[in-house]
Amino acid sequence: MTDIRLFSNNDDDEVVRGLRSLYAAPAGNAYWNELEARIMARVADVELGWWTELDRWVRPALAAAAVLLVAAGIAMYRARQSEADIAADQMLSAPPVPAATAIRPALQDDREARIRYLFGGR
């Protein structure tokens, strides 16, 4: 009987039918419920591993580290920038006259005071 089915004129259909019966998945919900339970038991084993918890924190930790690094970089850049600004301000706010001319009036004043003192002037 089997041979008649398998080797009929429409061989392809028979082969496909045979293949379907050969490769049929187990029937019955009990089998699939049990397989699901086995799969989930293995998943639970994986989930309980400390490395999973570590792995879960790796990305946020890397992101936080990157943010801190950028913030530190910006802070350092701003600190240097303000130092440079202060230095530039100090240079720009220095007396515009040359040093020699800046000293000379003081010396002149002193000299005139001495002359006034020697000659009894006020």
Binding site: T2, D11, V16, L19, L22, Y23, A25, P26, W32, E36
Partner: protein, 184 residues
């Protein structure tokens, strides 16, 4: 159309929940896909027991790789690729092991007592004469209804190769089964 879209939206929600660590959501994905996953694995490995192992390995890989999956992609296609890879790995491991050990009896597939033993025996013998890939392709296409493109993606071969494998597998099965008939 709407029910398909709803089903896809539901699945997407489950995937996102599972990605956030909800194992109940992952269990629902397992429940929804395990039969098809088994069929993919069963098409590639030789025995029911190996298919069970490959399904479990595949779901475990999928769980571990879930954060790399983009929820807008079809989950089934991604999962079945993982299943196919798990099955191919298992076949490779078996070959290495079998090469180191004494030859074992030819493994028989899962048996349904309601089916004819003779049909099974003849067909199984014929299938064992095909290459691993030809056998996988003909089962995935003719039994499970996957397209050539889907099969190519799962097995990591071009669509045209899957098509020609199917053609050659059918021709070989026809020839082998006819030879058996002439011997009777």
């Amino acid at each position: 159309m709407t029910s398909t879209a709803d089903a896809r939206a539901d699945e997407r929600a489950l995937v996102i929940a599972a990605q956030r660590g909800n194992t109940d959501a992952f269990a629902r994905l397992v429940r929804a896909h395990q039969r098809r996953a088994y069929a993919v694995c069963r098409a590639i490995v030789l025995t029911h027991e190996d298919a069970e192992d490959a399904v479990q390995e595949g779901f475990l890989h999928a769980f571990k790789a879930l954060d790399r999956f983009l929820p807008d992609q079809p989950f089934g296609a991604w999962l079945y690729r993982i299943m196919a890879n798990a099955s191919l790995d298992l076949v490779r491991r078996r070959k290495v092991r079998d090469a180191d050990e004494l030859p074992e009896a030819v493994p028989m597939p899962f048996r349904d007592p309601g089916e004819s033993d003779e049909l099974r025996r003849r067909l199984n013998e014929a299938l064992l004469q095909l290459t691993d890939r030809q056998r996988s392709v003909i089962v995935l296409h003719d039994v499970e209804g996957f397209t050539h493109g889907e099969i190519g993606e799962m097995l990591g071969i071009p669509e045209g190769t899957a098509r020609s494998d199917l053609h050659h597998a059918r021709a070989a099965l026809r020839r082998i089964l006819k030879d058996v008939r002439s011997d009777l």
